[in-house]
């Protein structure tokens, strides 16, 4: 692994911490986009700049996750007027602590799995696990619908990092399908978020509680 890929992976780890502590949705979306851009560059670094396959994947990631999805998310922020996540289930200090513990856990997990040096190295697996855990953290502890969407996207980022190690093994079709699914998923979620806003006049998922078991 080159010094550049190493630095990029550390950046990905740092962005996870940023995502865990920020309350501003615009920062959250930008952090996700930068993370995705890191992944796009990493695809080229790991698979070589003269591999057309890597260029297609990197281009796809860049177009969808760095340009289109953040654009739609930002539009949703403007339209729903939800700029800050004010009431997370845990405080941001606790979030930072949990995210740090997540990084520790990720390294512990990565150290237990066999990983060939050629394919990835410990740090790639650790960064991927840490990103997945950060995504899950956002999904579990935030109550705004948009934050949860970003959490899902961060989770996908982490999984895609694992996918990078398989770049020269997987048929291109599957990767493009995956990217497309993410995009369509966010698109559909965006529509739902918009509708939640219109129907309930807020996008606080925590207040979506009409469907639950009532005492008979």
């Amino acid at each position: 692994m080159s010094a550049w890929s190493y630095t990029i992976l550390v950046t990905v780890l740092l962005l996870n911490l940023l995502l865990a502590v920020t309350s501003r949705l615009s920062v959250l979306i930008r952090g996700f986009a930068i993370q995705a851009a890191c992944i796009a560059v990493l695809a080229l670094l790991l698979d070589g700049f003269n591999s057309p396959h890597a260029w297609i994947v990197a281009g796809g990631v860049f177009t969808l996750k760095v340009v289109l999805i953040p654009y739609f998310l930002n539009r949703a922020v403007v339209r729903t007027n939800a700029r800050r996540e004010l009431e997370p289930l845990v405080s941001y200090g606790t979030s930072l602590l949990l995210a740090s513990l997540g990084v520790l856990l990720a390294f512990a997990l990565a150290a237990r799995l066999p990983m060939e040096a050629r394919r990835a190295g410990l740090l790639l697996a650790a960064a991927a696990f840490a990103t997945m855990l950060t995504g899950l953290l956002l999904l579990v502890t935030r109550s705004k619908a948009l934050t949860e969407v970003v959490g899902y996207l961060v989770l996908e980022n982490g999984i895609f990092l694992f996918g990078l190690t398989l770049l020269n093994r997987m048929p291109l079709m599957v990767e493009m399908g995956i990217l497309l699914d993410v995009f369509v998923g966010v698109f559909v979620m965006g529509i739902v978020v918009y509708n939640i806003h219109r129907t309930f006049d807020h996008i606080d998922v925590g207040a979506l509680t009409s469907l639950k078991e009532e005492e008979p």
């Binding site: 692994m1 010094a3 190493y6 630095t7 550390v10 780890l13 740092l14 911490l17 502590v21 941001y92 200090g93 930072l96 602590l97 740090s100 990084v103 520790l104 390294f107 150290a111 040096a117 190295g121 410990l122 740090l123 650790a126």
Partner: protein, 308 residues
């Protein structure tokens, strides 16, 4: 324990130049704000002027209050003895001295806090409690940074870790070292009572941390405190500069580079003070835990073997 007496010279830059850091910082702030500012040597003048004055002691204070500035300054001076300066070896080194280094800094802080509590003033008590709380948050981060450096240099003494012939090189370990340096800079700002943690120029006792603790000291006692904080800034700055500077080259060149690096740190702190606002008190623990987390990440990266 070794004590080559001629190495005492390594302490001289700290002793002589540390007040200049304060002056440089003040000048930077003034220039950014568009003022002319106090002359660079103003801190020296302040210290000399204070030394010539007599001290006033409140009747409610005890020997603790009188001993505090001297104990504090003495602790910091001992800490200075363990630190190499650029190419010069530390006068005083043994395996594990980095722990002692950290504890002498803590002892200095303890003395000031004890002196503040001894006055019985509610403002000083408040400042003391804040200082104690925030330094408790900063401590793990500082130790982690020292740990990262020890891990990188595979040594437990500040001498080999920071200075001499075995300076830190950037052999593919850039990210962890950058993280450690950033963490150390954040801690430096907090430990030296700078914005964004504390505002040394504020005029409202309620919002002060460090300044409010030393309100009752006067004359030579206050000079000790002032000189002590200048030395402390020098200590943190020296560790930071040693991380960031490349080693090698002739001794005079690395000495010049070291001093230039210290000046840059002072200017940097001045710039941060000019462009940032003080954090709300409640956010300070978060700020300090961020420093701790960055240092921990650096340690983790090094332990994971760094770049393959």
């Amino acid at each position: 324990m070794t004590l080559p007496w001629w190495n005492v010279g390594a302490v001289l830059p700290a002793l002589l130049l540390s007040p200049l850091l304060l002056g440089l910082m003040g000048k930077t702030k003034a220039l950014v704000a568009g003022r002319k500012g106090a002359p660079l040597l103003q801190p020296y003048r302040d210290i000399i002027r204070l030394m010539g004055k007599g001290a006033v002691y409140s009747r409610t204070t005890t020997w603790v209050f009188r001993a505090a500035p001297a104990v504090s300054l003495a602790s910091i001076l001992v800490a200075c003895m363990m630190l190499p300066a650029g190419p010069l070896d530390a006068p005083f080194a043994f395996a594990g001295d980095l722990v002692l280094f950290a504890y002498f800094l803590a002892l200095a802080r303890f003395a000031v806090i004890a002196g503040a509590l001894d006055t019985g003033s509610s403002f000083e008590g408040m400042g003391a409690s804040r200082e104690a709380a925030f330094s408790a948050f900063a401590e793990p981060g500082f130790f982690l940074v020292l740990g990262v450096l020890a891990l990188k240099q595979k040594a437990l003494s500040l001498g080999p870790i920071l200075g001499g012939a075995d300076v830190i090189t950037w052999d593919g370990q850039t990210p962890p070292l950058v993280l450690a340096a950033v963490a150390l800079f954040l801690i430096l700002l907090a430990e030296n009572s700078r914005i964004p943690v504390d505002d040394p120029t504020t005029h409202l006792e309620l919002t002060m941390i460090h300044e409010v603790m030393v309100l009752d000291h006067s004359g030579p006692d206050f000079a000790f405190i002032l000189y002590g904080s200048a030395l402390k800034l020098w200590l943190f700055g020296a560790v930071l500069v040693s991380i960031l500077l490349p080693g090698g080259g002739p001794a005079w060149a690395s000495m010049a580079l070291f001093l230039a690096g210290m000046a840059v740190v002072a200017v940097l702190v001045g710039l941060v003070e000019s462009i940032m606002a003080r954090l709300r008190m409640a956010r300070v623990p978060q700020y300090l835990s961020l420093a701790g987390v960055l240092a921990a990440l650096a340690a983790l990266l090094l332990m994971a073997g760094g770049q393959p």
